[in-house]
Structures are given as C-alpha cells and as structure tokens.
C-alpha cells in the first residue's frame, strides 16, 4: 500500500534520520497543531501529542507491527487525533462533537494500544527530565547491570552508587505521581483489569 516516498519516510523514522524527521514535522505539524488548538488544546498539547504519536509509530516500525491501510499521513493523523481525544476524555473535556469524529479516526485496536502506550510514554517523558547523571545511572540499572558493574563503570563507590540510584529512582517516581495524567491512567487500568 505504501508509496516509495512513504517507505523512505518510514525508513528515515526507524533509523532516526534527522532530515527525514525534520521534513515530516514541517509537513505535518501545522495540521495537527491546528486540529488540537481548535479542539480545546494549546501549543504545548500539540507538541506533546505529535511527539508521542511519532514515538508510537517508531515503536511499531521497529517491531514490524505497523499496518497502514490508507496513506501514512492518514494513519499518523489518526494516531494523533485518537491520542488527543483520549486525553480530552480523561480530562472530561471531550464532548463528542461531530467535527472531531469521523470514520477514518475510529480504530478500536489502536485506541486500546494508545491507552497502554500512554503510561509508558509518561514514564519515559519524566525519565528524560532527570539529570544526565541520573539518566545514565538508571539506564544501567534498567539494562540489568549489577551494582558492582555500575560502580566500576561510573567510578562511584558502591555505597554512593546505591544511594544515588535510590535518589534518582525516588525523584522519578515522585515526579510521575505528581502528574494528574498518571492518576487518570491508573484509574483506567483499574477499570480495564
């Protein structure tokens, strides 16, 4: 279904090609920005939604699970619109206006996936807000390195590395829990399971 141009865009995204990603932004961000601002959002919302959607597309491309039945652009816009509608619904601002809903946007399996990815992306977003030192240390932890290996690689004493790991992880969890979206997503998860 994909054209040669679309295949090049997908390849550029999965390999992290800066030029392709910049062009993708330039060609598609104005439409998403306009859509979100017209539907109770602001510039920051538009930036967040666009970034989350492109990350979701990257994950699907990487795992070979991206199924585009129409054009890549239509598919991407559907992800963005569904993410935004979910957020509005959680914030009780979604009123189901007919302007916002049309056939191409509704995809139940995509909606379920968005809910699941939203939690992951919330964790990832706050992880990226940590200091460079904390990110480096926690990355090693999440990669499964032992404290001894971490201590050797960072030249921290073992006691300091353990304390620093605790401080960084606690900061991260505190930040996440202060975000109202975390509580809303937790409620959704409870409803589902």
């Amino acid at each position: 279904m994909s054209t040669t141009r679309e295949r090049k865009i997908m390849e550029g995204i999965v390999t992290g090609d800066r030029q392709v990603i910049k062009e993708f932004y330039t060609n598609n961000y104005p439409y998403i920005r306009k859509y979100i601002i017209q539907n109770s959002g602001d510039e920051t919302d538009a930036e967040d939604v666009f970034q989350d959607a492109i990350i979701m597309m990257y994950q699907k491309l990487k795992t070979g699970t991206l199924e585009v039945h129409s054009s890549l652009r239509t598919y991407f816009y559907a992800i963005c619109k569904n993410i935004w509608r979910n957020r509005l619904r959680r914030n009780k601002k979604f009123v189901g206006s007919s302007d916002m809903v049309n056939a191409e946007e509704i995809d139940v399996s995509l909606l379920e996936e968005i809910e699941q990815k939203e939690r992951e992306q919330l964790y990832q977003r706050y992880f990226l807000k940590l200091s460079h030192t904390c990110r480096e240390l926690l990355t090693m932890v999440f990669e499964g390195k032992t404290m001894r290996e971490i201590s050797d690689m960072t030249e921290y004493s073992s006691g300091y590395a353990r304390k620093k790991k605790f401080d960084c992880k606690k900061s991260l969890m505190d930040m996440i829990e202060k975000d109202s979206a975390y509580h809303e997503l937790t409620m959704i998860k409870k409803d589902i399971f």
């Binding site: 800066r18 920051t44 990350i55 992951e120 930040m175 202060k178």
Partner: protein, 249 residues
C-alpha cells in the same frame, strides 16, 4: 508507604530474583498481606518495563532535540537584528549574579563548613519577567514576593501552576524558594527536572550543587561542580573556587 533505600533494594531484589532464599520467603510473606507493598512493587515493575526499552528512549530524546533545533532555527530566522531587550535583561541578570557572588566571596576564606560555604556562595536566582503559565497579575505578584524574599508565599503561587505549563524558569524560582524555606529535597526535584539541553541547565546545576552542599552531601556537590567547570560557563569560576575549598576539607 515511606520510600527508603532499603525498601527499594528489597523490591528490586525480589523482581530480579536475587534475594537470598530466606529474604525471598520473608518478602513474599509480607507481600501477600501488605496492600501498600503490592502497589509499590507493581509501580517498580511497570517502571522497569517501560524504561528498559532503551531504543525508544534514545529515539524520544532524539526527537526532542530535533524539535528544539527546529524551534531555535525558526526563532533565529524571525528574530529581528540588533540587540533585543530580553537579551539585555538576561545579560543584566547574569551580571547582577556575578557581582553579588563576587562581593560575598571575599568574606569566606576562613569559614568553610558545608553550611558556611553554602551561605557564602548562595545568591537567589535573579528575577526576570516570567509570564508563561501564570496570568500577568499572578506573575507580578510572585515576582514582587520573590524580590521581597517572601519565599513561602512564592512557593504557594508557583505550586498552583500545572505541570504542563510549568516552564524551566518557574522551576528555578520554585527551587530557590524551597531552598530558602528548608525544603531541600523539593528544591532538588525542581532543579533535576531542568533538562541538560536547556539554556537554564547551567543555572540548575549550580543550584543543585548548592542544595547538596546545604544537605552536607559534599560528594554529590563536588561531582556537579566538576561538570560545571568542564562546561566553562558563567558559574565555572565560582564552581572551581568552591570545589577547591571542598577538596581542602
């Protein structure tokens, strides 16, 4: 549930299956009856699952940097030539900071406990115009209170800003306010949220170093000071001087 290093290490050990046989039995027994512990274990599990995908994390960071570059390029293209008033304000603020620090530092030499060093080197982040995320009236109000050193009241105003609209300057002011009312851990949390790609990162690093100094964690403070020296920005000179004093202790 109070979060302690011991609790985290037990949970991590349980999830990685590295607890000893006895520890494992005791932990599972506690887990079976303690609902708070069950929730906490689930949070750790989810965090590990979400953050072990390092490819996606690297991609997310790349996207963020690319977008920042694009916004900067757009701003450079549209910026008018000549000296902009906002730039003038920022330079003036930096000069005030340097002069204030210089005036204080000559008094320091004989007083070098971490607390004394903190008192000698700490100068609140200077006020610039900050309006995003707060309305003009609130902005005027918190800036006035900040200038008057009414830090408790500043923190109340800034805590009302939602996470989505909180920008990096707000975090610097809020962190500084917390520092002045004895909420050092909260201050650290604010400074840590300023990204290393931000133009405010050097300021945030300096205040993080001072916060650790106030908490008497000189090892953590020294590590940050070393990075500030390597970065060689406006705090490099003071960071070098402070680090030398810490190393003499």
């Amino acid at each position: 549930m109070e979060r302690t290093q011991e609790l985290f290490e037990k949970i991590e050990g349980y999830l990685a299956n590295t607890l000893s046989k006895e520890e494992g039995i005791a932990f599972r027994k506690e887990l079976a009856v303690n609902k708070e512990l069950q929730v906490e274990v689930e949070k750790h599990r989810e965090l590990h699952d979400a953050l072990s995908d390092t490819d996606t994390l690297a991609f997310a960071e790349k996207i963020r940097k690319i977008r920042k570059e694009m916004i900067q390029e757009e701003a450079d293209t549209t910026a008018t030539s000549g000296f902009r008033f906002s730039s003038f304000l920022k330079i003036a603020a930096s000069l005030v900071l340097i002069i204030s620090l210089g005036t204080l530092l000559w008094q320091v030499s004989r007083h070098d406990s971490p607390q004394d060093l903190y008192t000698a080197y700490y100068v609140p982040y200077p006020v610039e115009d900050v309006t995003r995320g707060v309305d003009q009236k609130e902005s005027d109000e918190f800036q006035k209170k900040y200038r008057e050193k009414k830090y408790e009241e500043v923190s109340v105003v800034l805590e009302k800003i939602s996470e989505d609209t909180m920008d990096e300057r707000h975090r610097l002011y809020l962190g500084n306010s917390y520092l002045n009312i004895g909420r050092e851990q909260d201050a650290l949390l604010q400074f840590q949220q300023i990204s290393d790609t931000s133009k405010y990162y050097e300021h945030a690093s300096w205040f993080r170093a001072l916060t650790y100094l106030k908490l008497e964690d000189t090892e953590a403070s020294a590590l940050i000071l070393q990075k500030i020296i390597t970065y060689n920005g406006i705090y490099a000179f003071n960071a070098k001087e402070l680090l030398e004093k810490l190393e003499k202790k």
